[in-house]
Symmetry: C2
Subunit: 420 residues, 2 copies
């Protein structure tokens, strides 16, 4: 049943030829820990973050005390600028850490809607990550707007023509995910952005699953607005601050509603009237969580150092290998690929459909593999390129094949998970 | 010039009689560090936080990986419940960590305004902390509301009668600070809350400068809504997450606009329609910054263990001592007390007016004292009760007297500070 091409020696050969193999050493990896296939939910801990966070706690909070703000206040811009060129095709001053992805979505969507006051439609994807939809439901209700849904294929992603057909001179904003959270399908960001601009709309891209895994042509495609998190492929730590992007030409023309003192022109002038700062700072709100921002910086430094192109190449190689193993070993046991088959059209995770996915997930965990689960019937398999080896994929899929072949998963509960 | 009563021996006697003296050991204090009089901007590092944060980084992020969310997701509620009884007179489930103070102000103010749709006035304090005013300006503009300002005395705080006179059946919301950020004056929270309720308005209190320094009778006064930060007297670390409070009876009746997935009833059900969670969770938004939340927990644990009454007693003793030293040593050099003279009416900081306050601030720093500065002419002196000794106050004021008497401060620049 096992093809000669899929032995462990083959996986080892792929690792030996991997130009990114050495980057694994930049992360803390416990020798007896699980095979980790969930770096698309929470990235691993960079080795450098351990000492940097200890120094931030003991030396800065403990020793510098309030004086630390003389440099902490630059941290969000510093991380934004780290990501700008090598990871996100933006310019310095177009990206900044701020709040959570959800809060940033609210701020930027609200700012965009205020900039198109005569238009009353927002184009959204009914299969987008729930928080994106929730926030637009709230904004639409507040402002009397209409949501015009498009429906991405659950396995294959957005149909560009369907999105284009939803555009018109009544559309204020298009909000979509670049890489679909469930299938990993990549949207045609340049084509959709251009079509939206043609229609006079603004575009807000959710980059949570693309930042640090695939190139994002923010400048090249003249993207207006974007948000994303730093705790997935950027390895910033649990709940590390999100980022937001506003194209430079738009910054002075947009105003967001959560007008806190970090967005004020002269923050410490203590004026009682809000006067938004120039540039990206006007999209900030309150005091940022410094320790968590240091985690984000440690991860972003690695991403900036390695650059996105080799990461993308390895991401495609890893997901292609996973698809090959799926086809050879798992398909016959009721699994089905729930991601695009063309590696160019998917990010760095692949998703498998199986009617007993949650049972498989639990059995796989007990076999020493940590995957992700998406309700009700999908295993989401994150193959973070900086630290995932081909032998990890080999070994994990080998174990899943055993679980499927033996039927051992059937003894696990069918109830739902709370894995994020 | 020096009265016999104000020698160092007197300060030492006060420390020897201080029932809270031992708590200083719970904080990291460098022997050659400055005398720290800015714990009302950023509290000191709890000793326990050093190891707890190291374990959260190495053991949890690095070792548990995504599995850490099984307990991280409880952290905000855990810290809220720690504060509920002993610090903030609330019940478990009425407080939770979330976002920044500014974002929380926006959420709760918006929720309150939506609950009073037929009223169009918000009562605000023109001398309140700027971010509070900025957020209400934004909400008022969005919703076509009118701000009705009252004007607190810059040194003496809010006049309750003036606030009461501003109330009426057109008032939807009253937003005020419990302890004034500049003068430290305590507002009459029970009387104002009762009067607002009498008028049918909701009340939102900003507790940034009162939480962990003075008792806050949230339940006793039937306060509707409150927000505050954890990085001042709660010693949670730079930018540690803020908290929000919603009285239990109101929780199910209020809806806030930033409808992220952490506020969804079944967060991992991935439904595409927002359905707010029961209870305080509906006021959450996105993924919280876990490392910074651990800092908040370390600080909150100390606050909960010691309780608020002894902290309040020492806060009054420290500020009273500072006022005595001011009167004896500094008043003759052009300083003036810019806080209420009655210790019952001020929090744990005192503010001094001097026309050359920023120069004094710089000279004081060079003399080994870290105070706070509030533009344009005020020294804000935070006397955090858990770790500030009477000898610290003695020594700091002694040095300031030297600086004033010698005129050495005149050689410093007059320019403005960026100290938060």
């Amino acid at each position: 049943m096992q093809s000669a091409g899929f032995g462990v020696a083959d996986a080892q050969r792929r690792d030996a030829a991997d130009p990114l193999a050495g980057w694994r050493e930049r992360f803390v990896i416990e020798p007896d820990g699980p095979i980790y296939l969930d770096g698309n939910s929470l990235g691993r801990l960079p080795v450098a973050a351990v000492d940097e966070l200890a120094a931030a706690v003991r030396g800065e909070w403990g020793g510098e005390l309030i004086r630390g703000w003389s440099h902490w206040i630059e941290l969000g811009r510093e991380v934004g600028d780290l990501l700008a060129g090598p990871v996100l095709d933006a310019e310095p001053g177009e990206l900044v850490l701020s709040d959570s992805t959800s809060v940033n979505l609210y701020k930027l969507a609200a700012a965009a809607l205020s900039a198109r006051p005569d238009r009353h439609v927002v184009v959204v994807d009914r299969d987008n990550f729930p928080t994106d939809q929730y926030l637009l439901q709230s904004l639409a209700a507040e402002r009397g707007l209409t949501l015009r849904p498009v429906t991405a294929d659950i396995d294959d992603g957005l149909d560009t023509e369907q999105v284009v057909a939803a555009l018109g001179d009544d559309v204020a904003l298009v909000l979509l995910s670049h890489v679909a959270y469930r299938s990993g399908a990549i949207a045609d960001l340049p084509a959709i952005t251009a079509a939206a601009h043609e229609a006079g709309a603004l575009v807000l891209w959710d980059l949570c699953h693309s930042v640090g895994s695939v190139p994002v042509p923010l400048r090249a495609a003249a993207v207006d607005l974007a948000v994303g998190c730093t705790y997935k492929y950027l390895n910033g730590g649990p709940g590390s601050p999100a980022f937001l992007y506003v194209r430079r030409e738009l910054q002075s023309r947009l105003r967001q509603p959560i007008t806190g003192w970090f967005g004020q022109a002269d923050q410490f002038g203590m004026d009682s009237r809000y006067d938004p700062a120039d540039g990206i700072d006007r999209f900030l709100v309150g005091t940022p969580p410094v320790l968590s921002a240091y985690g984000a910086r440690a991860g972003a430094r690695i991403a900036a150092e390695v650059g996105i192109e080799p990461v993308r190449a390895k991401g495609m190689a890893l997901t292609s290998y996973a698809v090959e193993l799926h086809d050879a070993w798992l398909a016959e046991h009721g699994c089905r690929l729930a991601s695009p088959r063309d590696p160019q059209r998917r990010g760095a995770h692949v998703t498998l459909y199986h009617p007993n996915a949650w049972q498989l997930c639990q059995a796989w965990q007990d076999a020493g593999v940590l995957p992700d689960f998406r309700t009700p019937d999908r295993l989401r398999i994150g193959l973070a390129p900086l630290y995932t080896r081909f032998v990890d994929v080999y070994e994990a899929f080998h174990r899943l094949r055993e679980i499927l072949a033996s039927g051992s998963y059937r003894s696990y509960p069918v109830a739902r998970s709370r894995v994020t």
